[in-house]
Amino acid sequence: MITRADFDIITSWVPPKSRVLDLGCGDGSLLRYLADSKQVRGYGIENDEPSLIKCIDNRVNVIQTNLESGMKEMADHSFDVVILSQTLQAIKHTEAVVSEMLRVGRGAIVTFPNFGYWKHRLQIGLAGKMPVSDDLPYQWYDTPNVHLFTIHDFEEFCRQRGYRINNRRVLAGDNEATFLPNLTGTLALYKISAG
């Protein structure tokens, strides 16, 4: 679930009048918000039929295609920012998608549910069960998530590939998680660029 809090953080990282690609843009409400608040020229990629209609209702540009292959035809650095909001954990080819984002965009914004959140750790560590929470609301057998990872995991991933982390914010619900974010944070937001 995208909340107003992560909207605001993402928006603050997007330069005014920039060209933005939102991968898996859902109902297009983030693009609508960016267009209204920052005069952003936005395009969404979405493959879900009902979501496509909602994007049209939100009057945002939306391209119906698979987000893992949809960037293939796009030119290098043709966007200022490419956004992947709470979707990376549901993508099969994590490495390829992040690398494509940083080819097509000058910068990328990635947000994801933090698997390292203490309640998730408790459910695994004590109850011995896969975590179910507000940010990971699925059972193990019906989840769209295929790669669950923590803040530490993501930062190591960036370090190994030479990606520069330009900004990081971690939320616990609607509030900022400043103390031990990998333990207390539910949602992590990163702005990264290629080296």
Partner: protein
């Protein structure tokens, strides 16, 4: 809703892409709904190969003559004539009312026949623009069409950027592939090698190249349907068992023959030749070294591109070329790839997602409202 064909006469010569000039001509058109006070709610519908200005409704004296896009256009329909003033126009060179091979050449007092010049998509669009002048409409809320009609919508967007707010480009392509042209050429050869064709002067010989037209339509028809759909509808079904003869035995044979013969009874051979040539010639990127993004550089309209998954005549990949060019040019573009089993014909059919995309898109067009 009863439709009524109308005719607009033009005396200003129309220069054509071929270099020929059409000195005077008529356009047949129909309108549905009401033009609002600010004249901002008009939608122009462009037709494909064998359709006409009769887009929606029926005629008072012909209750069975339903417009070709009646499922799309009408009161409360996706193109809602309670909100929009919809114009259907018949293209030049057609055989349904606008000037063409079957109408009278004012210079000779006889039917144009084979003397009617070859026209292009751009020529059609130029003539449509004059129809708008005639109707007192400076800017269209949208231009919309499927297949060859979608190509006209695209040409409208690049040729008259100041006169169009939205373009709906459905089941179209940025140009024909070699395979598309090949099918067209076989169809043309079927017509031109029919002994009754008489180099296009068949009317003077009081005959019609019916056999050639029939075969042309049969070929075309194959490309309108998906393999799966043809399999589902006919498969290897037989009419009455094997006869070991060349009479139609398989159901698909009799179906194609029926469609072809029906078509040859009402369509003009000279028109068929010209319309397939207009398709072959369409290639906006040609003058830009093949760079479609540059060819569409003038576009200011928002564009909705729609394709259908099983369309192999103008496949989704061809629509994605249009989308990519618009995206590269930083244009406003939305793309829907509709899951549909019917092939190219899907653009004429009732697919809930397709109709819903068009309905929602048009819901948010500004300036509408009767």
């Amino acid at each position: 809703m009863f439709a009524k064909p109308q005719f607009a006469h033009f005396d200003t010569p129309l220069p054509l892409a071929s270099g020929a000039v059409l000195p005077a001509y008529e356009l047949a058109y129909e309108t549905y709904g009401r033009l609002n006070e600010t004249r901002s709610n008009a939608i122009l519908i462009c037709h494909a190969l064998n359709a006409s200005h009769h887009v929606a409704g029926t005629y008072e004296n012909e209750p069975d003559n339903l417009g070709w896009w009646d499922n799309m256009v009408g009161p409360g329909k996706p193109v809602d004539t309670d909100r929009f003033f919809v114009i259907g126009v018949n293209n030049l060179g057609s055989c349904f009312g606008s000037s063409g091979p079957t109408t009278i050449n004012p210079a000779t007092g006889k039917k144009w026949g084979a003397d009617f010049p070859l026209v292009t998509v751009e020529d059609w669009v130029d003539s449509h623009a004059r129809l708008l002048d005639y109707l007192g409409i400076s800017t269209l809320a949208a231009v919309m069409g499927g297949s060859l009609g979608g190509m006209q919508a695209l040409a409208w967007a690049s040729r008259y950027p100041n006169r169009i707010k939205h373009a709906l480009v459905i089941a179209a392509a940025p140009n024909l592939s070699a395979q598309n042209i090949a099918f067209n050429e076989v169809a043309r050869q079927a017509i031109m090698t029919d002994p009754a064709f008489h180099a296009g002067a068949f009317a003077e010989h009081n005959t019609v190249p019916k056999d050639g037209l029939t075969v042309a339509r049969m070929i075309g028809h194959i490309t309108y349907i998906s393999d799966d759909q043809m399999e589902a509808k006919f498969g290897r079904g037989l009419r009455e068992g094997l006869k070991f003869s060349f009479a139609p035995e398989f159901q698909i044979e009799s179906y194609l023959r029926y469609q072809g013969e029906k078509f040859s009874g009402y369509y003009d051979a000279n028109t068929y030749l010209r319309v397939t040539k207009a398709l072959d010639y369409f290639d906006p990127a040609r003058n830009y070294g093949g760079d479609l993004a540059r060819a569409l550089g003038s576009v200011t309209a928002r564009v909705l591109v729609i394709s259908f998954t099983t369309d192999w005549r103008f496949s989704p990949a061809r629509s994605r070329e249009i989308v990519k060019a618009l995206l590269d040019g930083d244009k406003d573009v939305t793309y829907a790839e509709i899951e549909a089993p019917h092939g190219h014909d899907a653009f004429l059919l009732d697919n809930p997602q397709y109709l819903s995309v068009v309905r929602h898109y048009l819901n948010h067009i500004e300036g509408a409202g009767a």
